[in-house]
């Protein structure tokens, strides 16, 4: 259980803001990629890497490290920005996102970039990786923890619920799954496309501890992470209400900003808003 003080919260907020700036710059340079879902989850992933997780960027293969799996792999720019900021690789590499030969693939590729724990991009598969990692920790009597982040649309994949069942069955209290509950997927609002609601009740029914927070509020994220450490005998799902595109007013909550990168004026405008 870690002490949460206002100064730390402030520092993490600033860090998340920097991560968002990097996301915009990177996507602007790449000319394609997933803007909305990267910006929206920036607070969660920043909190994990800059506060919660026991990691050493100098030793990405350290066997006792905590693990993070980006199950919603299309938010790769977010993961890359955080890894660079945390010191896994020099941030000038962010400029190579999605370019031929770059280790920064359109979706995370663990064979190309140190720090990426699982190759994701096919929705629904990342949570199964995370369950496997948590199982390995139990087998080896290690106390590292495993974190994963899923999209709310991603919950429509049956595989997610197969993994959820397995995690509860094997009492994986070393596993925490964030659900990025932004209400949107590609074809529209999740409730119109194929409703995965109610999310908390589903995870509870599957045998998970469930916490509900505002996923763009750093303090609430830290408090939830602290709570999850107290849960014994079952995995924890943190259903995090977020605003897709958070931080850039013209991107926020717009379904059409799922899979396009900002261009020209848009880049300048987004960066200006993030500098305010």
């Amino acid at each position: 259980m870690k002490q949460i003080d206002q100064q730390q919260v402030q520092r993490l907020k600033e860090q998340a803001r920097e991560v968002r700036r990097q996301i915009i710059a990177m996507l602007g340079q790449a000319g394609s990629g997933h803007t909305g879902g990267s910006l929206g989850a920036a607070d969660i992933v920043t909190a994990l890497y800059f506060w919660e997780m026991n990691i050493d960027p100098q030793k990405p293969d350290w066997e006792d490290r905590d693990r993070f799996v980006l199950s919603k792999g299309h938010a790769a720019p977010l993961l890359y920005a955080v890894l660079a900021e945390r010191g896994y690789f020099p941030s000038d590499r962010l400029q190579t996102l999605r370019k031929l030969g770059s280790p920064l693939q359109g979706h995370p590729d663990r064979s190309k970039l140190a720090g990426v724990e699982a190759s994701t991009g096919s929705l629904g598969q990342g949570i199964s990786w995370a369950v496997g990692m948590a199982l390995a920790a139990k087998m080896d009597h290690k106390d590292y923890r495993v974190y994963t982040l899923l999209g709310d649309g991603e919950l429509e994949e049956g595989m997610v619920w197969e993994a959820a069942m397995a995690a509860a069955h094997y009492r994986l209290d070393n596993l925490v799954a964030f659900i990025d509950f932004n209400g949107l997927q590609i074809d529209g609002p999740v409730e119109q496309v194929l409703s995965p609601l109610p999310i908390p009740a589903k995870f509870a029914a599957f045998g998970w501890e469930v916490l509900q927070i505002d996923g763009n509020d750093i303090r609430q994220i830290l408090e939830a992470l602290n709570c999850a450490r107290l849960v014994k005998g079952k995995p924890t799902a943190i259903v995090a209400r977020t605003i897709k595109g958070k931080g850039c007013s013209f991107i926020e909550n717009k379904v059409e900003w799922h899979g396009v990168a900002p261009k020209g004026e848009e880049i300048a405008r987004a960066l200006a808003e993030l500098n305010m």
């Binding site: 999605r98 030969g101 770059s102 693939q105 979706h107 194929l194």
Partner: protein, 311 residues
């Protein structure tokens, strides 16, 4: 030269089909804007079902709908349609000969920047290996539209492989198109180039360049990979004595393999398979990737020259 993405042609053809036939039902898995089924969804909302991000269930539902008399066109990206949902395609659709047309877009390397996780280079192999499956890989927008209506007319499961980027239109509206019948686009006695999909227009360009060197290469659009037009393959083998296959797919299990299997059994001649060399793709611009993996006009020219040297 006029260009059109085969997925765009698919979207338009579906709307036309929907106007003509009440039994056409379209399914998608949260990618309707990309696969272009969104046009159909708008015109015929009561006959469109969004399965959400759940490809296995989409294919299972397609089988159920087909068993009740619907002609189902189900779309998502090729990697998910044939990969994620493979066993549902095999056991729910093909095993029972359900009238489901799996029409997948974003096939091959030309997916581009999304990277290797999204670039299916093994989908033809997967679909070809399943009994009862018809596999069609159209080269342009015109033949895509023809394929869509031909697939409607045919009862049974089929896989239609479509692409993301705009590609040159090579056919006229009145060009022949028949499932299972190869289209010979150019005559030539020196060598035969058998291509499918985006590589057909490149094969034509290559043949043009070769002709300037005095090499006459036949070019065939093998739009149907299964059932393969074996007669056409054997005839080409007899006429030219060597074959180059070209596809935006792994050299394992796709067009090249199908041609080899036929040639081996009926009229052995040297066959060189140009395709993705048993590796995964990666992020990059579509054309850059074709270049990087050797799927270019120059490579076709070079390989034909090589074949002739060995003759």
């Amino acid at each position: 030269m006029e260009k059109q993405a085969t997925r765009d042609a698919y979207g338009k053809a579906l709307v036309e089909l929907g106007k003509k036939h009440q039994d056409v039902v379209v399914l998608d898995a949260d990618l309707s804007k990309s696969t272009k089924t969104a046009d159909f969804a708008k015109q015929f909302p009561e006959r469109f079902i969004n399965a959400g991000i759940a490809e296995q269930n989409m294919v299972g539902m397609a089988a159920g709908l087909a068993s009740a008399g619907k002609v189902v066109f189900a779309s998502t990206f090729a990697i998910f349609a044939t990969g994620r949902a493979f066993e549902a395609v095999r056991n729910s659709v093909a095993y029972s000969k359900m009238n489901v047309k799996l029409c997948a877009t974003h096939a091959g390397l030309t997916v581009g920047e999304d990277g290797g996780s999204h670039q299916s280079v093994e989908d033809i192999a997967l679909m070809r290996s399943v009994p009862n499956m018809t596999v069609v890989v159209p080269a342009d927008g015109v033949s895509t539209a023809r394929a869509v209506s031909a697939l409607y007319d045919m009862n049974g499961p089929a896989y239609l492989r479509l692409g993301r980027p705009a590609v040159p239109v090579i056919y006229d509206q009145d060009s022949p198109f028949e499932i299972g019948r190869a289209n010979r686009l150019r005559r030539g006695e020196d060598a035969a180039i058998i291509a499918c999909g985006v590589m057909v227009s490149k094969a034509l360009e290559a043949a043009e360049l070769l002709a300037r060197e005095g090499i006459e290469a036949a070019v065939v659009d093998m739009h149907t990979i299964k059932p393969l037009d074996e007669a056409a393959v054997i005839e080409l083998a007899r006429e030219t004595g060597n074959i180059l296959t070209v596809e935006e797919h792994s050299i394992i299990g796709g067009l090249g393999s199908a041609v080899c299997e036929t040639v081996c059994a009926h009229h052995p001649v040297p066959v060189v398979r140009l395709g993705v060399n048993d590796v995964f793709g990666q992020s990059g611009e579509p054309n850059e990737l074709l270049e990087h993996y050797g799927l270019t006009v120059e490579k076709i020219v070079h390989n034909v020259r090589d074949l002739l040297r060995k003759k």
